[in-house]
Assembly symmetry: C2
Homo-oligomer: 217 residues x 2
């Protein structure tokens, strides 16, 4: 009796998490506009009315899911890039970090990129939330630190000059795009899931060198 009572009471928290997980799964696969509350409820194993009890509206759920997804995709990389580690080490670290994350969440890039394009207003809001401060602080912080390191390396004759923005864009492009274009790549090359994973593993090993060679004088 006590046991049962305890379990019921604890459900409120656990249920909310289950709903959020189900919502994430459905939103990532179908996109926000294509997602159906009924499907989320079913996947969470609860009634549809409960979704509204916890998140008020579909928009509320969508907001929560997008914030979480964007946090999974970008901040770890940006934090790494803003650190004090040597440049080459940063590159290797970002590649492994990003490729491992996306191997486990292959729908993440497609979803986040699509949402950003469909709801540009959410992007500023998200960027602001990264530091809790205003929009203008995140970018500069990463790019200033990176720019200084690049300048150092250039003066030491180890590297060509490159704007830090282009540095970041190139690196993220090479990591993220293959996942966003996964269905097309699989269709064109005839890869299956295992083949795709193998291709990604290979990238993990060779991408850092490819990227760094491209920057050398």
């Amino acid at each position: 009796m006590l046991q049962i009572n305890y379990m019921i009471k604890s459900n409120d928290q656990e249920t909310e998490a289950r709903i959020l997980d189900a919502a994430r799964s459905v939103f990532l696969r179908r996109g926000t506009a294509g997602a159906r509350m009924a499907e989320i409820a079913e996947e969470a194993g609860v009634n549809q009315a409960l979704l509204h009890y916890y998140f008020r509206s579909k928009a509320g759920l969508a907001e929560a899911v997008f914030q979480r997804a964007a946090r999974d995709l970008f901040p770890p990389v940006l934090r790494t890039l803003a650190s004090d580690a040597p440049l080459e080490e940063k590159v290797r670290e970002v590649v492994v970090l990003e490729l491992d994350t996306l191997r486990d969440n292959p729908f993440l890039p497609g979803y986040v990129l699509a949402e950003m394009n469909h709801h540009p207003e959410r992007v500023g809001q998200f960027v602001a939330s990264l530091t809790g401060v205003s929009l203008e602080t995140v970018g500069p912080r990463v790019f200033d630190r990176l720019g200084a390191q690049i300048e150092e390396a250039v003066e030491a004759g180890e590297m060509r000059p490159i704007p830090p923005e282009q540095f970041v864009i190139n690196l993220l492009s090479l990591c993220i795009f293959p996942f966003a274009a996964r269905p097309m790549l699989m269709a064109v090359t005839g890869m299956d899931d295992a083949g795709f994973r193998a291709m990604i593993e290979r990238r993990k090993a060779e991408l850092p060198e490819f990227f760094l060679r491209g920057l050398r004088p």
Copy 2:
């Protein structure tokens, strides 16, 4: 009178094109699931019923728009890559081709990537339509030709070995991703539209060298 009569008669063709253009514009911005037939009709300057007269259903319109968009995004590049031009020339050509296309259609990548993720079944269909033949012919044709050229260059000591798939993935990543991630890039860096275009122009000049250096021994 004759004039008016002529214009009315010619409208059927012109109207269908106007609708398709409007549909493209709305679908690209909102995604298929998020697009509204009413908005398309308004943007085309016609009544909503006309959309059904010409395209039967929303799915019909969506199909037409996706085919056209995917054709704009991929085939020119694949054709270039499968040509007989020297490898380095191909790279320069692809970069200019792709960056110019996307400068004029910044929503294209986000839309196509999203649709592919949400409707993987359409991808095979599209790939098949590229040659009119079966799915297995397009990929190999590009990759075989490219693989041979790479092998040549490797034996001449001009290049490191790299699987042709990775070659293509890297090249497309560097061209396409910045547009797919445009809203995020603009928010993080504080760029406006002009700044983004300037950034792309800079890439057009520097991307080929960066890419090719990354492949040299």
